[in-house]
């Protein structure tokens, strides 16, 4: 999937400017980190990519198609190609960890056995095999975050968008998750990672987009965390 932001601005009504004149492009298979202070516009940028918000001006192009103007009936198919880890997890509160992850495959019409096999496997990968029957409010912050990550991986999307996926994880789990994302990236999946975590960025040595007050102030191929 080829992603292009073309002079994108986002103003939340009445007048809060979250992004201003942002342009960049991401090719399939890249690993891109988005960094910036709190309120810099990272989450907004990711929301535009998932068509959760529409740009106030400019265009977000995915494989040449304008996502801002996508027809509602096409949205489900589009979103199934992206795995999203939300900053606030956004797990379904009335579904167990297992069901939350399975839901993504269920909406795609996957077979029951396939779902059972894959969900069990991904729960093992994120280290939550023994928590599969817990509801979100029976899970710790870090556990919820790992369920959210599992949900983003489960259907092997072409692009994984992760908004602060390690915010609630200890260094041990953080290393695991980043390692996992790198491995998935090696298999050809695009990873877009928004984070505050300086150590993570510096250790990655991958492309970094730096936002400051809604503007893209730096775009470096082997970036470091500099704010």
């Amino acid at each position: 999937m080829n992603i292009v932001f073309e002079r994108v601005s986002k103003v939340y009504p009445p007048g809060s400017v979250a992004l201003e004149d942002i342009s960049f492009s991401i090719d399939q298979g890249e690993f891109v980190s988005v960094v910036g202070k709190s309120g810099a516009g990272k989450t907004t940028l990711l929301k535009l990519l998932l068509a959760e918000e529409k740009p106030s001006s400019g265009r977000v192009l995915v494989d040449g198609g304008n996502i801002g103007g996508i027809r509602p009936s096409r949205l489900p198919d589009f979103r199934r190609k992206i795995g999203m880890v939300f900053q606030d997890y956004r797990l379904l509160p009335h579904k167990t960890a297992y069901e939350n992850i399975a839901y993504v495959m269920e909406v795609m019409g996957a077979e029951e056995e396939e779902i059972a096999r894959d969900v069990t496997e991904v729960l093992r990968i994120v280290g939550l095999s023994d928590r599969s029957d817990h509801f979100p409010d029976q899970l710790s912050g870090g556990e919820k975050q790992r369920v959210a990550i599992a949900r983003a991986l489960i259907h092997r999307p072409g692009v994984i968008v992760a908004d602060e996926p390690t915010g609630n994880l200890d260094p041990y789990h953080t290393r695991d998750i980043i390692h996992l994302l790198l491995k998935i990236n090696e298999l050809g999946t695009t990873i877009i990672l928004a984070t505050h975590n300086k150590e993570v960025i510096n250790r990655l040595g991958k492309r970094v987009l730096t936002l400051d007050q809604g503007r893209l102030i730096r775009d470096e191929q082997k970036g470091r965390f500099v704010i």
Binding site: R79, M84, R90, L92, H94, V107, G109, E111
Partner: protein, 303 residues
Amino acid sequence: MFFVSLKRIARYGYQSFLRDKGSSMALLFIMVLTLSGATTLFLVRGATSFLVLALESRVDVSAYFLKETPEQNILDVQTQLLQLPEIRDVKYVSQEDALKKFTEANQNDPVILSSLQEVGRNPLLASLNIRTWEQGDYAKVVDALQRGDSASIIEKIDYQDRRPTIEKIGALTTGIQTIGFLVVLLFGIAVVLVAFNTTRLAIYHARKEIEVMRLVGASNAFIRGPFFMQGAMIGVIASIVTTLLFMVPVFLISGFVERLLPGFNLAGYFLSNIFLILLLQLVLGIGLGVLSAAIAMRRYLEV
């Protein structure tokens, strides 16, 4: 793929039905009331149509023949009558048959039986019992009997105009049905309102969830399906509950109804129509449940 999704939607609907017990129960209750109204209407209809049928099938005209009339003459009259297009059937009752019936009908009345004995011979007359197709045609039959050759051998003609009674029952039936229909309609509207409100609240409470479902790629059908399924499920449960609820009172009052309306067995009627009744309730229940969910979603679940 379609059936896999349908199965999943059914499961989600079932889950949310169980999770949201309070509003499910309220809806179930009012739905049962509505279906009960409809079922009562069905039973009343059955009883009145039985009554009308019973009245219509009674003998319209009876012609009694003079004592010494040879049987063959009476049978000739019968043949002639059967040629009239208005006539449905003509039954010959000989003197002996009449006596037998009379004795049977009065077998518990020793006074009558003994006075019959005293008379010593058969005091009853042979008769033709005539039924016409249309209630109003009895006059023509009477006319034909009085004018033809048969007039000389006829002792007397009995007839009854049952039209006013039937019309009265007809009016009563229409009245009952109209009122019943209005009551059912009223309940039906209440069901739609309650179900609508239930779905609206459910959508409101679940709006964040619905947003997340959308973000992970759930289609509209996948999001709406469970709400429909929940409405339909309440319709199904309400139908079963109503049918079961009716069993007891129907059997209890069946005897009473039989005394009012001899020959009409309410319990039997209920049982022999139970699948039709259940079907009627299912159609009504599922229809109302799904309809109200659809209205709520149209208003509150923007695409």
